[in-house]
Each structure stands twice: as structure tokens, then as C-alpha cells.
């Protein structure tokens, strides 16, 4: 039984989350192939071939796949689908974008954001913003899945898979890339960081988010935000942690000036240790925090930075 895993990358680097999706794939079956679709993505191919447990890396290197447009990538995956029982991708924006398209073209259901594999056709996934956990059995012949990376450990990278170059190119021609406006940051990627410090509405403005910088630097942490902070324009939306933003599960999550709405908790409550700093002792965040500190963040943050 072969499994096709879509490799998440930016044409230069294989995303660490793909290693976690490979682990999920290996819980389903043993013959795992990685598909690298992109343009000038040779370095990604080299990294993909080293992922332990991957037997084959399929490479579609063409300008049509440079921005991994859903219309083109889904057509590519569809061509390959006949050889696979299971097709899966990481539940990041690229995977969420094209995988349902693949499922519909194959006329099968998709199971989104799985957090566990019970068997080759039965999967566990959160619903209602993580307030309920559903066990779902796929009744289709082919399984099409997206995987919540934070729920699986990363596969090792001491393998040596066979590399196969694909020649067929599909350009649907109904969409084109105009531009990217990416947030530049020297800090670790929010989804992969082992420590995350997040600010909420309590930060009051974007300028005050600088109070988190020094702490993040000392801890090697990524900086996140609640929806309130994003909506208020304090920080860009790709920093949002929650049901509709990023799902994180770091070793340590520090929530500063965040009340702890259901939608925010959905994105971080699987963190190993949660710290809450809030001046409102009634804030719901304290109900999930391992360590709570009732304090004004404008006093607490400089002190924390100084003492780390």
C-alpha cells in the first residue's frame, strides 16, 4: 500500500512540518513517497531524499509549480493518484488550499487536520475549535488527508530515497501569481518553535510588542498574537495563533495580555507548559495555564527580560 505525501517547501527548504507528516504516513503504511512540486527546487529534493522512511521522491520541477497554485498542483497530484491508496499533505495553507480540490476530482471525501491514526481508514481529528475530538472512518477507496503537524514527531533524516523526475506538466491557465508580501523575521518559525510568547489586546499597541522581542531573543522563542491583537493592527495576521490562525504546540507557551477566548485556546492548548501573565485574575486563560501570574504586563515583561 503506497502513500503519497506532498512536501511543503518554499523552493529552497523543505519545511520541518513535512517530517511530521511523514511520521503520520508511516503510521498508515510503509511505502511512503514524497512529491516535491516547485521550480528550481533541487535543494528541497536533496533534503526530501534524506527523510527516513521515504522510499521514493517524485520531482515536478517546472515554472508552473513555482507558487504551488491549487489548480496546477491538484492536476499534477490527480495524475499520480492512481498508484496510491492514501494522499496526504500537512494542514498548512498550501495543503489546505489544494488537497480538497484533489479529493473532489477523485470523487472522495477528505479528512482534515488529523491528529492521530487509528488504522489505515480511521483517523482522529478535532472539531468545534478543538472542544471535541472526533474519530472518523473513511468509507472511500482512496483516503485523502491533511495532517496537523504538531500532533506528530518529526521523522529522522538519515534515509536515502530514490529520486524520480516527473516530466508531465499541467498548467491550468486559470490563475496566476501576482506577488508575495512575506513577513521577514530572524526568529524561529511560529509553527515549529519550541517556545512561543504571544501578546493579546492587553499589549495596547504594536509598539508595545517590542517588549516581547528581548524575551523572545533570550529564549529563542517565536512571537505570536491573539486575534484581538491582529485585528487591532498591532501585528501582521500571520502571527495569529488560534482556530483560524496557526495551531502551535510548543514546549512552552507564554500568553501575555491574552484573555483566553475559545478560538485562541484552539490554537495553543496542546502546548506542554502554558504560562499566563494577565492583570485580570478572572481571565479564562488561567484555567488552562500551568503557571499563572497576576500582574500588569508592563511591569512584568521588563522584569522577566532582565531576569532571564
Amino acid at each position: 500500500m503506497s502513500i503519497l505525501v506532498y512536501a511543503e517547501h518554499d523552493n529552497t527548504e523543505l519545511k520541518a512540518d513535512t517530517l511530521k507528516t511523514v511520521t503520520a504516513a508511516l503510521k498508515i503504511g510503509s511505502d511512503v513517497h514524497l512529491l516535491v512540486a516547485g521550480a528550481n527546487c533541487q535543494s528541497v529534493v536533496e533534503q526530501a531524499a534524506k527523510v527516513t522512511g521515504v522510499t521514493k521522491v517524485l520531482v515536478a520541477d517546472n515554472a508552473a509549480y513555482e507558487h504551488q497554485l491549487a489548480e496546477n498542483v491538484s492536476a499534477l497530484v490527480l495524475e499520480l493518484a492512481a498508484d496510491y491508496d492514501t494522499i496526504m499533505a500537512t494542514a498548512l495553507t498550501t495543503g489546505k488550499n489544494f488537497v480538497p480540490r484533489v479529493a473532489a476530482l477523485l470523487d472522495v471525501a477528505q479528512i482534515s487536520d488529523i491528529i492521530d491514526v487509528e488504522s489505515a481508514d480511521t483517523f482522529v481529528r478535532p472539531i468545534y475549535a478543538g472542544n471535541a475530538i472526533a474519530t472518523v472512518k473513511s468509507l472511500d477507496v482512496k483516503k485523502v488527508l491533511t495532517v496537523r503537524a504538531t500532533a506528530f514527531d518529526a521523522a529522522d533524516t538519515d534515509g536515502s530515497a530514490e529520486v524520480v523526475t516527473l516530466s508531465n506538466v499541467t498548467d491550468a491557465g486559470i490563475s496566476s501569481h501576482v506577488k508575495d508580501e512575506l513577513t521577514v523575521s530572524a526568529r524561529p518559525d511560529l509553527g515549529a518553535a519550541s517556545i512561543v510568547i504571544s501578546g493579546g489586546r492587553g499589549m495596547q499597541n504594536g509598539e508595545n510588542f517590542k517588549l516581547l522581542d528581548g524575551i523572545a531573543d533570550k529564549l529563542g522563542a517565536a512571537i505570536g498574537a491573539s486575534r484581538a491583537a491582529v485585528d487591532a493592527g498591532f501585528v501582521p495576521n500571520d502571527m495569529q495563533v488560534g482556530q483560524t490562525g496557526k495551531i502551535v504546540a510548543p514546549d512552552l507557551y507564554i500568553a501575555v495580555g491574552i484573555s483566553g477566548a475559545i478560538q485562541h485556546l484552539a490554537g495553543m492548548k496542546d502546548s506542554k507548559v502554558i504560562v499566563a501573565i494577565n492583570k485580570d485574575p478572572e481571565a479564562p486563560i488561567f484555567q488552562v495555564a500551568d503557571y499563572g501570574l497576576e500582574a500588569d504586563l508592563f511591569d512584568a515583561l521588563p522584569e522577566l527580560e532582565a531576569k532571564l
Binding site: 518554499d10 491549487a70 495553507t93 489546505k96 488550499n97 480538497p100 480540490r101 484533489v102 473532489a104 471525501a109 477528505q110 482534515s112 478535532p126 472539531i127 475549535a129 472542544n131 471535541a132 475530538i133 472526533a134 474519530t135 472518523v136 472512518k137 473513511s138 468509507l139 491550468a172 491557465g173 486559470i174 490563475s175 496566476s176 501569481h177 501576482v178 506577488k179 508575495d180 508580501e181 513577513t183 509553527g191 517556545i195 495576521n237 500571520d238 483560524t244 512552552l252 475559545i262 478560538q263 492548548k269 506542554k272 502554558i274 504560562v275 488561567f286 484555567q287 488552562v288 495555564a289 500551568d290 503557571y291 499563572g292 501570574l293 497576576e294 500582574a295 522577566l304 531576569k307 532571564l308
Partner: protein
Amino acid sequence: MKVLVPIKRVIDYNVKVRVKADNSDVDLTNTKMAINPFCEIAVEEAVRLKEAGTVTEIIVVSVGDKTCQEQLRTALALGADRAIQIETDESLDALNIAKLLQKVVEEEQPQLVILGKQSIDSDNNQTGQMLAALTGMSQGTFASEVVVDGDKVNVTREVDGGLQTLALTLPAVVTTDLRLNEPRYASLPNIMKAKRKPLDVKPAADFGINLTARTSLLKVTPPAERQAGIMVGSIDELIEKLKTEAKVIS
């Protein structure tokens, strides 16, 4: 041009769900229901396009039992022109919903279909993409800006590293992210007017689609409860605990 906006009735986003004692599903009896927040944003975007003169007619559609008429009326009060209810008592998989919507697209021939990026109950994030696939349309998911430009639509998408702008050939499917707009409130006169707007009820069975379930929900359980934590008195104590007790920093 014509816009189709599929919407969904879901549990109100502020309500904490309860899992049924027999673990068959969540308990929705006597729960406050509302229009899915992302769908509300989709309706608002369609209304704004109409106000800007780009759009001539807005059709809202929902798949569900009679109760979803309430949400269709809400959408009409917000500015949609007419509504279609595809009536079924079943809870359908996203693919079957997309197939029903495909038929509506074939009949109505909208240039633009705007959906929410996900419903806050099933959290699937699939229907828009599936509908785009079935109708052969281009797709602009997780949109934070939509600009119609002749026979194309420029969609700025919220992607992992920031923003990405795509140019899509119409007809296209767009799914909304939260930052696309701030939905308006329906005024009382508009709520009254909405009662007279047309709402067609079409039984799902009449669409000639095999709606057999593709997935089976085996069980639903509450998530693991987190152990209650402790309150610390000072930053010093906090750092000490993190170093020696939790061992997450060194």
C-alpha cells in the same frame, strides 16, 4: 455580475460545546445557533461588491433542514437579493454539499462564488475548494482582499508566511478569511424587508445526486482536560518554576 454565497447554520461561536454522554456526537439541543462567522463575511463582501456597482444580484444558498431558513433570512436582511434552501435532514459530507452547490452554480451561472474558508463546527476548510474543482473554476482561498478587474479577480490570500496575491480568471470561487471585512448589522427595516424577499426550497433528493455518506463518525469525545495549574507570586518564582519544575527553560 451575479454572485452566489453559500452559507451555513452553525453553533454560535461563543458557546462552549458539550459532548453527548453516549459519545455519538456533540449535543446541539437548545443551543444558540447562528450564521457561521466566515459566511457572514462572505455575505458582507458580496453586498459591498453590489454597493460598488460590480455585482447586480446576490443569491444566498444553504443546505440543511427548515431551521437554516433563519440564517438565509439573516443574509437577506444583510443585503442578499434572494435565497435558496436545499432541504435535507441529513448532515452531509463536504463533498456532497459541494456537489449540490455545483448544481446551483450550473443553474444560476454566477461569475463569482464567495464562501467562508471554514465552518466553525466541523472545521473542515474544504467546501470552497471542492466546489471550485467540480465546476472547473479557479480558486482564491483565505482571502483578505478581493478586487474585481474586468474578467479577472485579484485575490490577496493569507498564507503561512504573510500575504500572497493571485489573479484569477472569472468565474472563480473565493473563500473568506476573517480580515476580509467587518460585517454590518442588519437594521430592523431590512429585517422586515427580508421577510418578503424570495426564498426557494428545493429538496436535496431532487438534485439527482448520490448523497451516500463518504465518512462515518465513529465517536466524539471531549478533549483531554488540562491539569489545573498554580498561580505564582512573582517573576522570580515563575522563572524558578520554569527552570526546575517544568524544565522548559535553562
